[in-house]
């Protein structure tokens, strides 16, 4: 019994809340320009993202967007340009969580920075873009959302204007981003040329009609278009072949922004990949038209991406770069979700979604720890981190949780999501991918454990005085660690939600 009938667009509330927070920050900035009142600014950003998170969780629990629910069902808005289903809400949760963590951590990290209000409003705008990506259901809205997420990100990466590394990283990120955007939009135009539609469901209908008819003469065109779309996704998710911006950008950017990009932005990149390939390009029809099974592309990308990421990470001496390459490796793991779709089962995609959620906590937490280390000014290499546990046992315990979870060792959330990816790959018959996953996970333990060893076991190279305990960073790190641990016993609901969401999209 619903007392007040909400309008359909209310289903977009998480996204609207993020956008509203960005606007509220603008208002604050216009009332009090150059304000450095961090409590109000970071507080607004945190409150906004937490509100978005709460609404998204509530909607998910209430069954908004779930088929078969009375009066709900999958909600399509603006002629199907936007869609609110369980997958959209799921990824809005991921984005909102990471945004909240980043906002809290930035309270300390951006202390003393001149452009406080701009920083937080850019974060919120990028988060709005990512949330829109989760709901976008047409190639045009996808592109707009992608740009909405990307443009603030470029500025955020280079926001430390006096820091050469930050500016250089921003420029590299922008150049690669502009190039991949161009490729992506070109891909869109080719798909449009082949089918005459931009809305994803309409593309699928048209493709079926083409396959049922003479097949059309546009198979090659369509194939090329899809290939270029994959390029766009690869950029956003930091996968091979558009991964090389990631180490530079993550290293140069302020650590909370590295966390933001490597967790939320990656997840958002994956949601459009999931949606476009399951909705617009049904596997059998597309294969018939272009003559190639597009999962093959993702099988190759998955294996290459995880291997490149892990091998490169193993050779790093700089902690932030190691995390950047590890983030590429994890993009490879999540790509299994698309590579395994050939078997027609949604479980493997659900597993990838679970991995992205857990990753949202453990990877964000790891980057925020780097932010904490930068806040302390201890240096950037593994050696500089030596012996930190003596002064900061709690933060270092959290770091150990993140590292072992990233490596996929029990008893942390990363173990389950990786295991489910593994079984998903096996069920899909992708033994090579499953083997690559195991080998890479085993390899990754080497460099993750190296960081744990540095902070816990090795003796410090230089004697340090006691380290400060910045409230915001500590709160964010501890919360992320607690969630990484809690996601082990509490993985049941995540599995159900992710599998339900994936089932709707795949069907």
């Amino acid at each position: 019994m619903v007392l007040v009938e909400l309008p359909e667009w209310a289903a977009l509330a998480p996204m609207l809340l993020l956008a509203g927070t960005a606007l509220a920050l603008f208002v604050i900035d216009s009332i009090s320009p150059r304000s450095t009142n961090r409590t109000i600014l970071a507080g607004t950003a945190t409150a906004g993202s937490l509100a978005a998170l709460a609404v998204a969780v509530w909607f998910t629990a209430a069954g908004v967007g779930a088929p078969g629910m009375d009066g709900f069902g999958v909600i399509e808005l603006f002629d199907g340009q936007l869609i609110v289903d369980q997958m959209a809400l799921y990824f809005m949760i991921v984005v909102a969580v990471v945004t909240a963590l980043v906002s809290v951590a930035s309270y300390d990290y951006m202390e003393g920075h001149a452009y406080q209000a701009e920083y937080y409003s850019l974060v919120m705008l990028a988060a709005t873009g990512m949330a829109t990506m989760a709901a976008a259901n047409s190639l045009v809205t996808i592109f707009i959302a992608l740009e909405l997420a990307s443009l603030p990100s470029y500025a955020l990466v280079s926001i430390l204007k006096d820091n050469r590394g930050s500016v250089e990283a921003g420029l590299k990120y922008f150049l690669v981003g502009a190039l991949s955007s161009a490729i992506f939009v070109y891909g869109i135009s080719l798909v449009y040329g082949a089918t005459g539609f931009l809305q994803l469901d309409a593309i699928a209908v048209e493709l079926e009609a083409l396959a049922a008819g003479d097949g059309g003469d546009f198979g090659g065109l369509l194939g090329l278009g899809i290939l270029m779309l994959i390029g766009g996704f690869a950029f956003k998710t930091a996968s091979v072949p558009f991964h090389f911006w990631a180490p530079e950008a993550y290293e140069g950017a302020p650590a909370p922004i590295s966390a933001f990009l490597s967790s939320a932005s990656k997840a958002a990149g994956f949601v459009i990949a999931f949606r476009v390939f399951t909705t617009a390009f049904p596997l059998d029809v597309t294969t018939e038209l272009i003559g190639v099974d597009w999962t093959v592309a993702f099988v190759i990308l998955a294996v290459v991406t995880m291997t490149v990421g892990n091998f490169a990470a193993a050779t790093q001496d700089n902690v932030k770069r190691m995390l950047a390459y590890s983030s590429i490796g994890h993009a490879g793991y999540a790509l299994i979700g698309l590579a395994g779709l050939g078997a027609g089962s949604e479980t493997v995609m659900g597993a990838a979604m679970m991995h992205l959620l857990v990753y949202g906590f453990m990877n964000t937490g790891a980057f925020l720890f780097v932010g904490l280390a930068e806040h302390w000014g201890v240096g950037r290499t593994f050696e500089d981190y030596n012996g930190l546990a003596k002064q900061a046992p709690i933060a270092c315990a959290a770091l150990a949780v993140f590292m072992f979870s990233l490596a996929g060792i029990p008893p942390f959330g990363g173990f389950f999501s990786k295991y489910f990816l593994f079984t998903g790959a096996i069920e899909a018959g992708l033994l090579v991918v499953a083997a690559a996953l195991v080998v890479n996970s085993a390899l990754s333990l080497y460099y993750y454990a190296r960081l744990v060893k540095a902070v816990w076991i090795d003796d410090p190279v230089v004697e340090r005085d006691s380290l400060s305990q910045p409230t915001g960073l500590y709160a964010a790190i501890v919360f992320a660690a607690v969630m990484t641990v809690v996601l082990l016993p509490g993985f049941g609901p995540v599995v159900d939600t992710a599998l339900d969401a994936a089932a709707v999209v795949v069907a």
Binding site: T347, A400, I409, P410, P411, F416, A449, W456, I457, F491
Partner: protein
């Protein structure tokens, strides 16, 4: 809910201790560890289970709750105790309490972290012995590694980093092998199982087994999985040739960690061998491997003892003799008789107590002298009569002095192994293994004679004096338990055999 309380107290205690100030951490951890110890003793007193947990026995303190449903398989929180796991749980809780007391003297840096990790290990060790769902079990199994790695790596001796990483890599690779093999087995079973509950998997295994997996036939799959899991657990036990991590880890680990490592962590391996390899698999799968495993067991016994004979570091002597003792356990298991398997389980408990005692005694001597080299010491009995007396008592326990638990355990094993019909040439294997005892007596008496007796002579700047009471008290408790089990083995042997018998009968054996 008793088991949840047991694990929960240890986990929360670990967190509280981790956050407590260093000054009170040791006492606090001890106080907290008394709660699981008391609870487990109460469970021991009120134990009402019967039969084997995996073979449809009546479980004590059982509890089950749905956890995750992924694909065709359910993962659940499923715990319970039978006559095999209960003694090991009691051993764990008691040994952890005593190990905490024995750390008060040697641990003087980052105490709250140390004791927090010890309690965290305790929670996971209990979990390993009570879990009856494969996933749950595996999570506890793996979760033991991380704190032990840190205990060795942070508080260990001079070569602690090498020892810690070696321990971690060896056991983790072994776990990965075992995990992969078991998952393949479960997938191979197909529709016959719908969950990872061990009793269900056991039933499916004994009722025809898997059809095959990715083109591998059912029998081949079972044999391959059996071997892979045996290797995976053999590293943990350890048996020759997978034992090389053990002396490094034991020697470099701080005394309390050595106590836990030898006392309980090694038992995880033998316990898992008993639960998985020797309970789940039908006899015809095991049969081709019986003689090779017996050979490995005997080699472990003799070679481990020989290695101990060659050492001059007291801690290394005790460490290598663990390899030897674990060889007896394997021999008992493969004999497949009531006394063999039951004796092996009894030996797990007995060796946990005796090796714990030995490591503590060596640790107390080291605290005073800062050396463990037999060649440096002479006439220690003169200065530390009580600690040395206990060391000698422990050594005699190791040698199998009647009325101590070591004697009962080894007697059961030899008795069970000698008459085994399952193991070919059983009398020869048993006779060879018995020869190990002679070597044990040799190296222990040799070490005692040199270090303990004769005129006092030790070149050291330290003032060697009697050990404080809180160093000696835990050893007396252990000695009491060793003698109690030696005088009345039926205290636990009865419930052990009750749980072992179904393996020998029900499992088509």
């Amino acid at each position: 809910m008793m088991i949840e309380a047991l694990i929960g107290v240890a986990l929360i205690g670990a967190l509280v201790t981790f956050l407590a100030p260093n000054r009170i951490a040791g006492k606090l951890a001890f106080a907290i560890s008394l709660i699981p110890a008391a609870l487990s003793l109460w469970m021991f007193a009120t134990f009402d289970g019967s039969g084997n947990a995996l073979l449809g026995g009546e479980l004590a303190f059982e509890s089950q709750a749905e956890w995750i449903q992924f694909g065709a398989y359910a993962i659940s929180w499923f715990v319970g105790l039978d006559g095999i796991s209960l003694p090991l749980v009691v051993l764990t809780t008691i040994l952890v309490s005593l190990a905490i007391v024995s750390s008060w003297t040697p641990i003087d840096d980052r105490e709250s972290q140390f004791y927090g990790l010890v309690l965290f290990i305790e929670a996971n060790l209990i979990g390993v012995f009570v879990a009856l769902d494969f996933f749950l079990w595996f999570i506890f199994w793996e979760a033991v590694l991380i704190p032990m790695y840190l205990l060795i790596g942070i508080w260990g001796g001079p070569r602690r980093k090498y020892a810690a990483i070696k321990f971690f890599v060896y056991t983790n690779v072994a776990s990965l092998l075992m995990f992969g093999a078991f998952i393949a087995l479960v997938f191979g079973l197909g529709d016959a199982v719908t969950s990872f509950a061990l009793p269900e998997i056991t039933a499916a295994m004994l009722d025809g087994g898997p059809d095959g997996f990715f083109g591998v036939g059912g029998t081949t799959l079972m044999s391959a999985v059996f071997v892979a899991m045996f290797i995976g657990f053999a590293v943990k036990v350890p048996v020759v040739p997978f034992h090389t991590w053990l002396p490094d880890a034991h020697v470099e680990a701080p005394t309390p960690a050595s106590v836990l490592l030898a006392g309980i962590l090694l038992k995880m391996g033998t316990y898992a061998l008993l639960r998985f390899n020797f309970t789940m698999f039908p006899t015809d799968v095991i049969e081709p491997f019986v003689v090779p495993i017996a050979v490995i067991a005997v080699i472990s016994v003799i070679y481990g003892a020989m290695l101990a004979l060659a050492q001059t570091d007291l801690k290394r002597i005790v460490a290598y003799s663990s390899v030897s003792s674990m060889g007896y356990v394997i021999l008992g298991l493969i004999a497949f008789t009531q006394f063999g398997v039951g004796g092996a389980t009894f030996q797990m408990v007995s060796h946990g107590l005796i090796s714990g005692l030995m490591f503590m005694a060596v640790g107390v001597i080291y605290n005073a002298t800062h050396t463990r080299m037999v060649t440096d010491m002479s006439g220690m009995a003169d200065r530390m009569p009580v600690a040395v007396g206990i060391l000698i008592a422990g050594a005699f326990g190791y040698m199998g002095l009647p009325l101590m638990s070591g004697f009962a355990a080894e007697y059961f094993i030899f008795f069970g192994a000698f008459g085994s019909e399952f193991l070919e040439y059983a009398p020869i294997f048993t006779a060879l293994a018995m020869f190990g005892i002679v070597v044990v007596a040799g190296y222990l008496l040799f070490a005692m004679q040199r270090a303990v007796f004769g005129p006092y002579n030790l070149e050291t700047d330290y003032d060697v004096r009697r050990a404080p009471l809180h160093d000696v008290a835990p050893m007396f408790v252990l000695l009491g338990l060793i003698i109690a089990l030696g005088v009345a083995p039926d205290l636990i042997f009865e419930m052990i055999t009750d749980a072992v018998d179904p393996i020998l009968e029900g499992g088509e054996l």
